[in-house]
Amino acid sequence: MQSNSLFEKMSSRLDELSILPKLDEAVSIPQLIEEKGFSRREFMGWAAAMTSMLMLPANFTPLVAKAAELADRLPLVWLHMAECTGCSESLLRSSSPSIDSLIFDYISLEYHETIMAASGWQAEQNLEHAMEKYKGKYILMVEGGIPQGLSDFYLTVGAHGKTGEKHAKEAAENAAAIFAIGTCSSFGGVQAAAPNPTNAQPLSKITNKTVINVPGCPPSESNIVGTLVHFILYGTLPALDIYNRPKWAYGLRIHDACERRGRFDAGEFVQQFGDEGAKKGFCLYKVGCKGPYTFNNCSKQKFNQGTSWPIQSGHGCMGCSEPNFWDTMGIVHEPLANRLYHTTFGGLGSDATADKIGLGLLTVTAVAIAAHAAISVLKNPEV
């Protein structure tokens, strides 16, 4: 019953959307997908996979397909902040474009610095125009951390030399939904790592509106497009975990659905890269896999059209979709137990692991105990 009412709700939402004007009346997404060499069957296969990824029953597949076809009805503004454009690249630069990237290519992108034709004053004008024309209706996707406050000058964008912070604030003001794409805009990312010289902050610190985080470095194309399709289908924000990440993608740890989990539980570990265990596909925990501390669906969705993902290719997870992963996950190729504490005890314990510091303290205590015991034996304590 519940799924029936959800089905009807989504259907009427899609009917409403289909009345809205298209980006270009001459082309449509189904037409475009066919032109690029995907059969209808392949497209429906993609829609079925997307349906299951969004944790909807299989009979919702036609709705998901329709939502994808209507993706050109929703205006989208994509801002680039302090970042490497890797998130956009994750979608755009595939050798054989997937349906995900095709849809992304053709959604009503009002402003996207990497792929727009306009430049300079014209680009600025496009952005202002889009934000005015689609006030309260456009989806905002932001890529990159944002230097904040007194450090905002570290990021200026466009001919007006406007700071990134101002750009993001203005764009967030009238957006229907705000998505932070990638770890930088979700949590600050690498440039926010200690000592964070530019005071880069996540988007959620810049605006007080609700921000949906889609972290990852980069997030997989299916997580980006999935977030978009989810919004088209529901018109509301998805169920979120404690870090405002959609639960359907970030509900479980990498470790929970890892293909090498059996090796982990069996105690079969790669001791060093290239050894017999590595060849046999053993667990990468001892060579620094941070999958046990990282929430993402990489093992299920994978990257590059589902070709592979880090652990499948024999390298541990770096924890890239976690807040402050650069600071908290320690050395990339060492387990967390071997994390070094750079400034412990004013430099005395520098570059030592917790175990080394612990052993040091234990030794000091043991020496003190021995000294106290020796003195006490020589000079009996008064009772």
Partner: protein
């Protein structure tokens, strides 16, 4: 040492009112620790040792089977399972002891130690005793202020270990108690700055407990040797010998 030996040689044996054999009418037996207290102490002690051993293995799995295609015995999963089972034993012991300390009638002598805790003179005397400059202070409760402070710190570490342990636990078992605790534990996880730091904190707190154990055993042995009230025996038999004044 020789002077104490000659002293004890002159003490006569006698039998007290309850029929217990005593050594002097000036020395009396007092129930220091209840049976529940002693049981939970030893259960906790053994659980801590087991938790440290399995915990070190979980952090860095040092024993691994050779890379063969033979069926495995799931060594790592076993270590983790035992760590979790013993972890819950530890939690139970800590909760029982906390209940006893706050509510139990027999444990009024524990709570009496609070009075010494807030008395600066007892503090000064206690420190002086360990510095070998004055006599041991007279205590109202079973713990001296330094001891009480150390135990307070231990319980702070124990509860932090339990919380961080439960956060790690809810990500391993998603049903039952794991499901029940999932949401609250994730909130604490965010407060602490993410799962990776929770795991580190758990590891650091373990080192705190190791240090505590070393000092705890030393001071217990020290008291047993120099004060001669049966300090070590008290945690097994429950009674201590005090001079009657």
């Amino acid at each position: 040492m020789s002077s104490t030996h000659t002293k004890s040689a002159t003490i006569e044996q006698h039998i007290d009112i309850e029929g217990h054999v005593g050594i002097d009418e000036h020395i009396g037996r007092d129930l220091e620790y209840s049976a529940a207290y002693r049981w939970q102490h030893w259960i906790r002690a053994f659980s801590i040792v087991a938790l440290i051993a399995t915990g070190f293995y979980i952090a860095v799995p040092v024993i691994t089977p050779a890379a063969t295609n033979e069926p495995t015995n799931f060594l790592y999963a076993l270590f983790r399972t035992w760590h979790i089972i013993i972890g819950f034993v530890f939690i139970s012991a800590i909760l029982l002891k906390s209940y006893l300390f706050i509510f139990a009638k027999k444990h009024v002598n524990e709570r009496a130690a609070l009075k010494d805790m807030i008395n600066p003179i007892v503090w000064a005397k206690q420190i002086g005793f360990y510095l070998l400059i004055n006599k041991h202070p007279k205590l109202k409760g079973v713990y001296n202020p330094m001891q009480f402070m150390a135990y307070l710190l231990f319980y702070l570490m124990a509860f932090s270990l339990i919380i961080t342990g439960l956060i790690l636990y809810v990500h391993v078992y998603h049903e039952g108690l794991g499901a029940f605790l999932y949401e609250p534990m994730r909130s604490v996880e965010v407060m602490l700055g993410g799962l990776a730091f929770v795991r580190e904190l758990h590891h650091m707190l373990m080192w705190g407990v190791i240090l505590f154990i070393l000092i705890h055993i030393y001071i217990a042995v020290y008291n047993a040797i120099f004060i001669r009230e049966g300090t070590i025996d008290a945690i097994i038999s429950g009674v201590k010998w005090h001079k009657r004044v």
